[in-house]
């Protein structure tokens, strides 16, 4: 495995370069919270890419891991334009770690609900913490409200 530690500002260019070299698959995008190990900036984001030959099904080059260190500021650029799967993986990284992406200001959580407070895979999130229970969500006016309580209807 070829591991490259890259300056945060250069990550997108590096990924784009790799894509142009034939790395057509984003295998994984994840992060590690290093704050419990006393490192700063606290997060390490890992992009793992592979180049797959569509004919033989084998990988033509060794996989590359692109790593960068970020804090809680929106400095990373989204890789959605390179690999569409980055959309969901970035949502998961935001959901679990609270790492924002500069060009995705209204990014949505992937696994948890919007009212959830905090980011659970951060080391300072207590494992036994409880979140308040959520009631039915108000649906927008033009949508169908599936949570509506059944109304009493007078039959003719």
């Amino acid at each position: 495995m070829d591991i490259r530690k890259i300056e945060t500002a250069l990550v997108f260019e590096t990924l784009k370069g790799l894509k142009d070299q034939g790395y057509n698959m984003l295998v994984d995008l994840t992060a590690v919270d290093n704050s419990a190990r006393g490192r700063a900036p606290r997060f390490e984001v890992v992009y793992r890419v592979a180049s797959l030959d569509l004919g033989t099904g084998l990988e033509t080059k060794p996989r590359v891991e692109v790593r960068c260190e970020v804090g809680s500021d929106p400095v990373l650029r989204s890789a959605r334009s390179l690999w569409p799967i980055a959309d969901w993986l970035e949502r998961e990284v935001w959901d679990m770690f609270g790492i924002p992406f500069a060009d995705r200001p209204d990014i949505k959580r992937l696994l948890l609900y919007e009212e959830f407070v905090g980011h659970p895979l951060r080391k300072d999130y207590p494992i036994a913490k409880r979140q308040p229970l959520m009631g039915p969500r108000e649906e927008p006016e033009d949508g169908v409200n599936l949570n509506r309580v059944r109304q009493k209807v007078d039959y003719e």
Binding site: M25, E92, M96, P120, L121
Partner: protein, 426 residues
């Protein structure tokens, strides 16, 4: 559609924008089965994570445990004995067959073929019996250990296995006759839920799905682990990448997996089952009286859950040396070193310590590349465990397959992509 809908197995919500019967837009909402696997893994000793992995892809739990243990072993620098490796391959392939059988059965049922469902689930039950014999449980198996597996093959496993395979082959043949040239089935699956191979790769899709589009990518071939490089098997591929191809690829893979298991049973080095066991409580009593000399050559007859963990089989299926694996029961009951070794393994904050570092190991799961990225800081718990769930990548591409099709195709497509919520939401 969903999260609770009779035609969708698993909790997931699809928000479909319709124009009559046509799907104009679709959005996938996941997370209903989120159990914080990755967070829990950080709070438990290394070996305690194994039962959690069973709950990831609960249709093929043995593959998950294998993937996790391989990643930890890579950090430890441990290679398990050859017989143990063969046992893991047998376990993985049995799981893969149950996974594919379930997927084909459930998707056929959702299209109205209830008989096929019954036939294939009956076949799956033969295999669950085998898994039960091997591991002591049908679904929550916890068979793999860091440094080995729980136990060696039970008596008469080979004969039971071949008998079960005959049943599976018959059921698969029946399913094939009922479905493959069936007009009603074909109309629903042919040409629906199509994804091109370029799109599949761009979405990071692997496994039977990617192979159905014609790319023969298989982790067992491109990153061989365990003993897969010594086994003969084919990688079946489709061409169109539609629901029908995914069905065909899965049926073909069932046969290949059974072929692998048969080879393993033939090729695996022998274990030994020679000495008659002595009751473990009797052994403990003798040990307490200090009569350890006569215990050295005896095997401990233990309860059902520990069966096969005695010294005779221990050497063949687990990595040697203290530190990684529990010592064999004879040493625990019969010697003070063994007892101390055992306690050090099971005491809280003691036990297995993995050297600091990072490892990523991919294995071929039921749905594709299942990867475990593990970070250790040298303590007795993982610092971070990342599971790369193959389902997630497929679900992200689901709108691409649904948009432009009919509402009825949603059911066919959703069945054939084999979404497993336990793995998707972790």
């Amino acid at each position: 559609m969903g999260p609770q809908h009779p035609a969708m197995h698993g909790v997931i919500r699809l928000i479909l924008g319709l124009d009559g019967e046509r799907v104009k837009s679709s959005e996938v909402e996941i997370g209903y089965l989120h159990r914080a696997f990755e967070k829990h893994a950080e709070a438990e000793p290394w070996n305690n994570v194994v039962p959690y992995t069973d709950r990831l892809n609960y249709v093929s739990p043995l593959i998950n445990g294998t993937g996790y243990c391989l990643a930890v072993e890579k950090l430890l620098g441990v290679t398990i004995p050859e017989r143990g490796q063969y046992l893991r391959v047998v376990a993985c392939e049995l799981s893969r067959v149950t996974d594919h059988l379930t997927c084909v059965a459930a998707s056929a049922m959702e299209l109205g073929a209830f008989t096929v469902f019954l036939y294939l689930i009956k076949a799956r039950e033969y295999l669950y019996q085998l898994v039960d014999d091997l591991t002591g449980a049908r679904v929550t198996t916890s068979y793999c250990r860091v440094g080995g597996v729980k136990a060696d093959l039970p008596d008469d496993f080979q004969r039971k296995c071949l008998a079960a395979f005959a049943g599976v082959r018959e059921a698969v043949r029946d399913a094939d006759r009922l479905l493959t040239r069936n007009r009603i089935f074909m109309d629903r699956v042919e040409g629906t839920g199509v994804l091109s191979r370029e799109d599949a790769v761009a979405y990071g899709i692997t496994g039977p799905f990617l192979r159905s589009t014609g790319v023969p990518y298989d982790v067992r071939r491109s990153h061989p682990y365990l003993v897969y490089d010594r086994l003969e098997f084919e990688v079946p591929v489709g061409s169109a990448g539609d629901n029908f191809d995914r069905y065909l690829v899965r049926l073909a893979e069932i046969e290949q997996s059974m072929r692998i298991v048969e080879q393993c049973l033939r090729l695996m080095p022998k274990g030994s089952h020679s000495l008659p066991p002595m009751d473990a409580s009797e052994m403990a009593d003798l040990g307490k009286q200090g009569k350890t000399a006569e215990l050295v050559d005896r095997t401990a007859g233990t309860c059902k859950t520990l069966e096969g963990a005695d010294r005779n089989t221990h050497d063949h299926i687990r990595a040697g040396g203290p530190g990684a694996v529990l010592p064999p029961k004879e040493e625990v009951y019969g010697s003070i070193e063994g007892l101390m070794n055992h306690f050090e393994q099971v005491m809280w904050t003691w036990g297995l310590k993995v050297p600091a570092g990072e490892a990523y190991v991919p294995v071929e799961g039921g749905n594709g590349e299942l990867g475990f990225h593990i970070v250790s800081d040298g303590k007795n718990k993982p610092y971070r465990v990342r599971c790369r769930p193959p389902c997630l990548f497929i679900m992200a591409a689901l709108p691409k397959m649904l948009n432009g099709g009919y509402v009825a195709d949603v059911v066919a497509t959703f069945g054939s992509v084999n979404m497993i919520a336990g793995e998707l939401d972790r």
